[in-house]
């Protein structure tokens, strides 16, 4: 089977390189090049998620991706899977309903910080409280990138955005602590630069029984542009230099502040709690 496909919108012929032979039946090559900005980390997550789904040991027919609105919500469209693109913030209730109706499915929610923590924040904490057997990937880029750079629940104090031009003055969410306190079974935080660790964490997420949360730090050129942090490459270099891996870190101390002096990554929580649905 040739992997060369003509893109409908532009008419160019795209061939997926040989390195992606293992996931070529999962990626929709006819929609590449994808829509995300230059320097966005979502392409790396898409690649790793496809690999993890392929090697998870669960049949592909059993996997379901549910996405909400936002840049991250586009991930479902590039995967040749059962993927649902639902209303803003309601990806987790939709996924819980799927899991209740058919407990054999492996339901994964992929969403951004705005989709899952802002408008869907209530659904997030209550799904974690009930410990529903779904997986949630939160791609944290610290800003609402698609709509023009408004501040989000994870924007650090002091960051300049379109809606906080003199510096943001609210405290951000500490996502691993929030998920742990609400009752999630598995909590991890990685960046798109730590690919082997993120890949292993994704595989672990599929194995865990219960509510599994992975926060993925991703560069966003809208965030770096507004704050004079350079380009996405400079953001990745900051992550490379200042990140430390500590699996036993105290979750109360792992806030990411605006200076990004300390970025703690790791597989923080893995515990067994009774599961409500699924």
């Amino acid at each position: 089977m040739s992997t060369e496909v003509e893109v409908a919108t532009t008419g160019i012929k795209v061939e997926l390189p040989k390195a992606y032979d293992d996931i070529k039946d999962l990626i929709r090559i006819d929609r590449l090049p994808h829509i995300w900005c230059p320097g966005c980390g979502l392409g790396i997550l898409l690649k790793l998620l496809a690999r993890a789904i392929k090697n998870s040991g669960i049949p592909i027919e059993k996997h379901v991706i549910v996405t909400g609105i936002g840049c991250t919500g586009r991930i479902g469209g590039y995967l040749r899977l059962d993927a649902y693109h639902v209303t803003h913030g309601r990806a987790i209730p939709f996924a819980v309903g799927l899991k209740m109706a058919n407990p054999e499915l492996e339901v994964t929610v992929v969403g951004g910080d705005g989709d899952i923590l802002a408008i869907g924040g209530n659904h997030f904490i209550h799904a974690a409280r009930r410990n529903d057997d779904i997986n949630v990937i939160i791609v944290n880029n610290f800003i609402y990138g698609m709509t023009g750079g408004q501040y989000s629940p994870t924007t650090p104090k002091g960051a300049k955005t379109t809606t906080s031009p003199y510096g943001h003055f609210e405290n951000p969410f500490n996502v691993p602590l929030l998920a742990y306190a609400a009752g999630a079974s598995y909590v991890a935080r990685w960046s798109v630069l730590h690919q082997n660790e993120l890949y292993q964490s994704l595989l672990e997420m599929f194995r865990v029984k219960g509510f599994a949360v992975i926060e993925v730090l991703s560069p966003c050129i809208i965030y770096t542009d507004r704050n004079a942090m350079g380009d996405a490459v400079d953001f990745m270099k900051v992550i490379k230099e200042r990140s430390t891996i500590d699996h036993n870190a105290n979750l109360a101390d792992i806030d990411i502040d605006f200076s990004m002096k300390k970025i703690v990554l790791g597989n923080f929580v893995k515990r067994e709690r009774p599961v409500s649905y699924g």
Binding site: I12, I27, L32, P33, G39, L42, I44, Q195, A232
Partner: protein, 112 residues
Amino acid sequence: MALIQQDEAWFMRRLVNLHKMKRPVGKILVNPDLCKDCRFCIEFCPNNVLEESKDVNFKGYHYPVVKPGKELDCVACRMCEKICPEFAITIISEEYITYDKYYGVSRHAHGG
């Protein structure tokens, strides 16, 4: 040429048969139409093999090309392939090169 500098430091131990040792040579294949000029591959290459091209692809982005004179420097670590968010780069490592050939025969022959 970081390898030569390391090798010439006086405190470094050097293998006696270094001139016979082989290492893989990577061949970098870039699909220009998929590239969006995020520069991840250029900045994160440990051996600084890549640079921006002079010409552009159909979207107007400069894509990565191998620096002139650095065709043999890629050691096929696949960092660029992993870091590329656009599915644009692939590395083929089928060939091997001896250090003797890489440095030039006179330089490191017979253990220096």
